[in-house]
């Protein structure tokens, strides 16, 4: 594992310099919590490190809520995203499987992926509903983001994860190889601590391999019970880092607008003849669980739930899927 170090002040200056050549987004801490903002000289110092997780998932940068997919321009200029947690980085893998499949590759998604330098953060703290480790995901990335940035006192430590990450750091004249073994072991200790914090908080929660059978075998009552407070707003799917269903809307000139959709909205599967397999709310509610824990795992190699817990945070009906799993597991 290659680590580099840079003084925090220098790092902030380097980001300001990078603004000349890149559009940069970063997770920024404010009185409202942590969320992505477009970086400008005024908010560089507020970029959040070591903390879980931006309110919005990383998906938003690659699958916008709405885009013209016939005449829209794809991303040609390089951009940088700082502050993605590993749950979201892992969430991109299933999006890659869906949107970059060999037969039908989405050029808009592809260009965004190719032109984005991903700098992840290590989550050394957890939020209330974080449960990545239950689904086999570490709270830090050591391979799938290009770089990982960790705050250590007056330093920013960069873990180099990919050749693109390596190349990116070549732009900084003030980075040094990290030779201080103490700092590396401090980081490793913090990782262990974060992992045990997550494991402790989510004791008893079935792991991703178990969830499929649990969902498949669950009787109808559990879906009725947990969907009782669901208002079909689709917030769970919208905020989810892996939900990626969409609708194509036609505009004059044979243009197509691709708009994020959700199986939680009524009519999602309705056909012209009137049949609608997901007409009933408990069926729609169950569908999202079947999709994430049963069907997608049969079809794809990457996980369809990363344990980010955002669906729990976003639900206005206070539906907690972890409570559902704990109830089913016991």
């Amino acid at each position: 594992m290659q680590y580099l170090s840079i003084i925090k002040e220098e790092w902030d200056k380097a980001i300001e310099q990078l603004l000349l050549s890149y559009t940069i987004f970063a997770s920024v801490e404010s009185e409202f919590g942590i969320d992505y903002e477009i970086v400008n000289p005024a908010n560089i110092s507020k970029i959040s490190y070591n903390k879980a997780k931006p309110a919005t998932s990383l998906k938003t940068f690659f699958l916008p809520v709405k885009e013209n997919v016939t005449s829209g321009t794809s991303l040609k200029r390089q951009r940088v995203i700082i502050g993605a947690p590993n749950c979201d980085i892992q969430g991109l893998k299933i999006l890659d499987e869906i949107y970059l499949d060999k037969e039908f590759s989405d050029i808009y998604y592809r260009d965004r992926r190719e032109n984005t330098v991903l700098i992840s953060i290590d989550c050394l703290e957890k939020q209330e509903h974080c449960h990545c480790t239950s689904y086999g995901i570490k709270p830090w990335s050591d391979s799938d983001s290009d770089l990982a940035a960790i705050r250590n006192g007056d330093l920013i430590i960069l873990r180099v994860n990919t050749p693109r990450g390596q190349e990116f750091t070549n732009q900084f004249s003030v980075v040094h190889d990290l030779r201080d073994e103490n700092i590396i072991s401090e980081i490793e200790d913090a990782h262990k601590k974060a992992e045990s914090l997550l494991n402790e908080a989510n004791k008893g929660l079935p792991d991703y391999k178990e969830t499929g059978a649990i969902v498949k075998n669950a009787g109808g009552e559990i879906w009725k019970k947990y969907s009782a407070n669901c208002v079909s707003c689709g917030a769970c799917a919208t905020i989810c880092p892996t939900c990626s269903c969409f609708l194509l809307v036609d505009k004059p000139g044979f243009e197509k607008i691709k708009q994020l959709d959700a199986c939680q909205y009524p009519g999602f599967q309705r056909v012209a003849g009137g049949e609608d397999t997901l007409h009933k709310l408990p069926d729609r509610f169950r569908n999202r669980y079947m999709c994430k824990y049963v069907w997608k795992p049969e079809k794809f190699t990457s996980v369809a739930c990363t344990g980010c817990g955002r669906c729990i945070e976003a639900c206005i009906g206070k539906i907690n899927k972890n409570e559902l799993f704990l109830e089913l597991a016991t």
Binding site: V69, T70, I98, Y99, D101, E103, F104, S105, D106, I107, R110, D111, E114, S244, C245, F246, L247, L248, V249, D250, K251, P252, G253, F254, K256, K258, D261, C263, F268, Q269, R270, V271, A272, G273, E275, T277, C291, V294, W295, K296, E298, K299
Partner: protein, 274 residues
């Protein structure tokens, strides 16, 4: 950076003829602006400019490359506007998508086709494809049911098939009218009169979900094996690319993994008949 085709962009096609098939069904004859070919049973997304698009399996021969026929039942918002289109208009085509009928697997066999209502559209394309390879087939039998005699599409097709070597075609209606002197009853009743070489037959079922369900049950009762019953599934295929999620049927994207499945592939999948 590699440049690939934009998968969302439709190909324009000129509407050259609109054929009235029944009170609710029309066939649109289209000439695509670029070369376009499809395999029988595959589907396309057909769009009305600025209005919307919907999935249809072409009803023409896959061996005719300069034009394309799509048979459309007026049943919703987009199809209602389609029915008002006049020759000269331009429509949009995306596709072809999905897995069609594996006709090479039918070589040397008796092909029994059970069709209902507008399900005859994809079947007509299949029949053209089978006519093309009839030397390699044992026999082709079409059993078709419509609600009333007036609802039957492609009426001349039946005489033509009955005059074609190795082909037989039978019709029934759910409700008779004054002129109808043929069988009355659901389409599966036509199967009762026929003898099948079960060791050497395959079945194809295409039609409304309820008919697909009872057609499949009947074929199973007769003794057809699950893997020899081919079903063309109808779901809300929207993108056609295995991405948008609307046509998910269990772990399958009907648009990409189907729309043609064998019964054994989907028998354990929930909601296949609804």
């Amino acid at each position: 950076m590699t440049s690939v085709k934009n998968i969302y962009k439709p190909l324009k096609a000129k509407l050259t003829e609109v054929i009235d098939e029944s009170p609710l069904i029309k066939t649109f004859v289209l000439i695509p602006e670029e070369e376009f070919s499809f395999g029988t049973g595959q589907f396309i997304e057909l769009s009305v400019d600025g209005i919307g698009e919907a999935p249809f399996t072409p009803s023409s021969s896959p061996h005719v490359s300069d034009k394309l026929e799509v048979t459309v039942m007026k049943t919703g918002y987009v199809t209602e506007i389609m029915h008002n289109l006049k020759p000269g208009a331009y429509m949009g085509i995306r596709g072809p998508y999905g897995r069609g009928y594996p006709v090479e697997k039918f070589f040397g066999k008796e092909v029994i086709i059970l069709g209902g209502g507008c399900g005859l559209a994809p079947i007509r394309s299949l029949l053209y494809a089978l006519e093309h390879i009839k030397d390699k087939l044992e026999k082709v039998i079409l059993c078709y049911g419509s609600k009333t005699p007036a609802d039957c599409v492609y009426k001349p097709l039946f005489d033509r098939l009955n005059n074609t070597e190795k082909f037989e075609a039978y019709r029934t209606v759910d409700r008779s009218d004054e002129e109808w002197d043929g069988p009355v009853g659901v389409v599966t009743t036509l199967l009762n009169k026929l003898k099948f070489d079960l060791k050497n037959s395959i079945a194809v079922v295409c039609g409304p979900p309820i008919m697909m369900k009872f057609g499949t049950i009947r074929f199973l009762e007769i003794g057809f094996r699950e893997e020899e019953i081919y079903l063309s599934m109808e779901k809300n295929m929207s993108c056609g690319l295995g991405k948008c999620g609307h046509c998910m049927m269990g772990e399958y994207f009907v648009c990409k993994d189907g729309p043609v499945f064998t019964y054994n592939e989907i028998k354990d999948t929930p909601n296949i008949w609804s």
